[in-house]
């Protein structure tokens, strides 16, 4: 390694300890998420049981919850019998009501019951006679004389597939992608340390971003973080907020839903302005290939990084993730805000799945962006904060850009 190297990544001990702690916490979260994947509770199980406490003025034996529950079920089953054809069943007007029926002002009661998927599993088994009655599942849409959107739909078995896609696939793998990538970044910080300005800080500063570029970046960033937090609150509230109570979850969910759409205009405007300012310089070029092949020089402290103009290939990837990913999110988001204006139920449910998948990916990608822009690289943050970067930083990461600037200045002088 050349003698030019004044600062090494591994010298940032404080950052590395922080990274190690974060990596440890994220590893625990990742392990827990893995357990969640396989713990077999992805089945709907009854949460409430019915019971009868008073029947026709007679109190049901106290303390026998099971019996009163059974009684409630017998009352309903007895009533079901009355739907037989009229020649087979009573009561005729004036006849006494069936023996097993509640009297005036008597109500069944509901009480919480523990998680027990066994009941659901027993329901899912059809006996021979019932199995013979079943029609194959198929998508069925007819016509309806009722004037409501979607009234003509009878059956769409794909609803169950959507549930599988959303509740099992997207939610768990999304969490995996986000936590896993965050874990990786923390691990990199712990082992590799920050990417240093190898030659140390110089006295000279170069202007990298103007005021409008920076203001727009932070407006978009705030909107993105707002969208991400409210989105995660909706998508993972069941795991993250439910332990604090279902009422709390409902209230936070309601606020999250509303704020989620409130961030839309600023996010959209930010992307448009970004495209106007940065699109030209983010068009791919041959240099990007070299840069990517050398991994951007990320893992070495050597100041000789692959050459780049104003934006290197990594930054270009971030730019295009924001623009293309953002576009997908805005379009699907708008479709979801106005169901039935453009798409029907099937189209909207695909829009929802796309929205969720791209959201998880974008959050993971931008965790990387936030990392490299703050703790991951010495001196990078100031480019977007006051717009000025250290000359040595610029030369190490964007040497062609610095040459461009100097050529311009030289030409003017």
């Amino acid at each position: 390694m050349s003698e030019e190297v004044q600062i090494r990544g591994r010298d940032f001990v404080g950052y590395r300890i922080g990274g190690a702690i974060a990596a440890l916490l994220l590893f625990v979260a990742l392990a827990w998420q893995t357990v969640e994947l396989f713990d077999g509770d992805n089945i709907t199980s009854p949460e409430v049981r019915w019971s009868a406490s008073v029947v026709n003025g007679r109190e049901v034996t106290p303390g026998s919850d099971a019996d009163s529950g059974l009684l409630a079920q017998q009352i309903l089953a007895a009533r079901t019998r009355m739907q037989e054809d009229r020649q087979n069943t009573g009561p005729a007007p004036g006849e006494p009501a069936p023996r097993l029926a509640l009297g005036e002002g008597e109500y069944l009661t509901e009480s919480p019951m523990p998680f027990d998927p066994a009941l659901t599993r027993s329901w899912a088994i059809a006996d021979g006679e019932t199995a013979a009655m079943l029609r194959p599942r198929e998508r069925l849409v007819g016509i309806s004389s009722l004037p409501y959107v979607g009234a003509a739909l009878f059956e769409r078995p794909d609803g169950r597939d959507w549930r599988l896609g959303m509740a099992d696939f997207v939610t768990h793998l999304g969490a995996w992608a986000m936590l896993g990538f965050a874990f990786l970044l923390a691990l990199i910080l712990a082992i590799r340390g920050r990417v240093p300005i190898a030659k140390g800080r110089s006295q000279e500063k170069i202007r990298r971003f103007g005021f409008i570029e920076r203001a727009n970046h932070w407006m978009t960033a705030t909107s993105f973080v707002g969208l991400a937090i409210t989105g995660v609150a909706i998508g993972y509230g069941d795991t993250l907020i439910r332990p604090f109570g279902e009422r709390t979850l409902g209230t936070i969910g309601w606020w999250a839903t509303w704020s989620h759409s409130i961030f839309l205009p600023s996010f959209t405007l930010g992307l448009v302005v970004m495209a106007v300012y940065w699109l030209y310089r983010n068009l791919p070029s041959k240099l990007d290939w070299t840069w990517l092949r050398r991994g951007g020089g990320f893992f070495s402290d050597d100041p000789d990084n692959p050459p780049a103009r104003k934006f290197n290939a990594g930054q270009k990837l971030i730019f295009w993730s924001a623009i293309l990913g953002g576009l997908v999110m805005i379009v699907t988001g708008l479709l979801l805000m106005f169901p039935f204006y453009v798409l029907g139920i099937e189209g909207t449910s695909w829009a929802m799945l796309t929205h969720a998948v791209v959201a998880a990916l974008l959050i993971a990608i931008f965790l990387g962006h936030i990392y490299i822009g703050t703790v991951g690289m010495q001196g990078a943050f100031w480019a977007m904060w006051d717009g000025l970067v250290d000359k040595n930083w610029a030369e190490e990461h964007h040497e062609l850009w610095v040459e461009e600037l100097e050529a311009k200045r030289g030409g003017r002088a």
Binding site: L76, R79, T80, T109, A124, L153, A167, E246, A256
Partner: protein, 198 residues
């Protein structure tokens, strides 16, 4: 063990829409929403048939599984209920529902769907059974009164059956044997036997 179900005898339904009307009236379902509908196939052609459909109160209910705020829950007789106080109107239950049951208020602002409404099997909601508050939010709680959904009890041809699944299936089979034909239990495979082969 009682597990309640809906069964509509497609050979008996005459598309009178009494179920839909009685439901709206009994539960005072708000304007623009409908908990029970009648769908007609092959209208005006040989083999025309109508079938009433609402929430089927599925086994391993997909709506309950996807609800991000635990608004939806199931009871030990299979009824799927909802809590209007926690619903955020996200629409997930609507995407996951195999029968198009969840409904949203039409008057919505900026794409907010408002509080979801759906068939409760005439079993109200989390409020105290038989209370005025429960009635205003969810309609009548007939189950707590030991009765069955009004749509089925009002059905003039007894096409729509509701209640204990085994009893309902038995009534239907006796009927099919007596008259010699029947097209089977529509929607049951999707609703109640999700693991069976389609």
């Amino acid at each position: 063990m009682t597990r309640v179900k809906f069964l509509c005898d497609a050979e008996r339904c005459i598309e009178c829409n009494a179920c839909a009307t009685a439901c709206k009236n009994e539960n005072e379902v708000p304007w623009g929403m409908v908990r029970r509908r009648v769908v007609t196939f092959s209208d005006g052609e040989p083999g025309e048939r109508s079938i009433a459909i609402s929430c089927m109160h599925c086994t391993d209910a997909p709506c309950v599984a996807v609800c991000p705020v635990s608004t939806l829950y199931q009871t030990d007789i299979g009824v799927v209920l909802h809590d209007k106080d926690t619903c955020i109107g996200c629409g997930y239950c609507f995407y996951a529902c195999p029968f198009g049951a969840p409904q949203y208020p039409q008057a919505s602002l900026f794409g907010s769907r408002g509080k979801m409404d759906k068939c409760t099997f005439c079993a109200g909601g989390p409020e105290e059974n038989g209370s005025q508050e429960e009635f205003e939010k969810y309609g009548r709680n007939r189950i707590a009164e030991g009765k069955l959904p009004l749509c089925a009890e009002v059905c003039s041809t007894r096409a729509l059956l509701a209640g204990d699944g085994d009893t309902v299936a038995e009534i239907y089979r006796e009927r099919v044997v007596a008259r010699g034909f029947g097209s089977g239990a529509w929607g049951w495979q999707t609703a109640y036997y999700p693991e069976g082969e389609g």
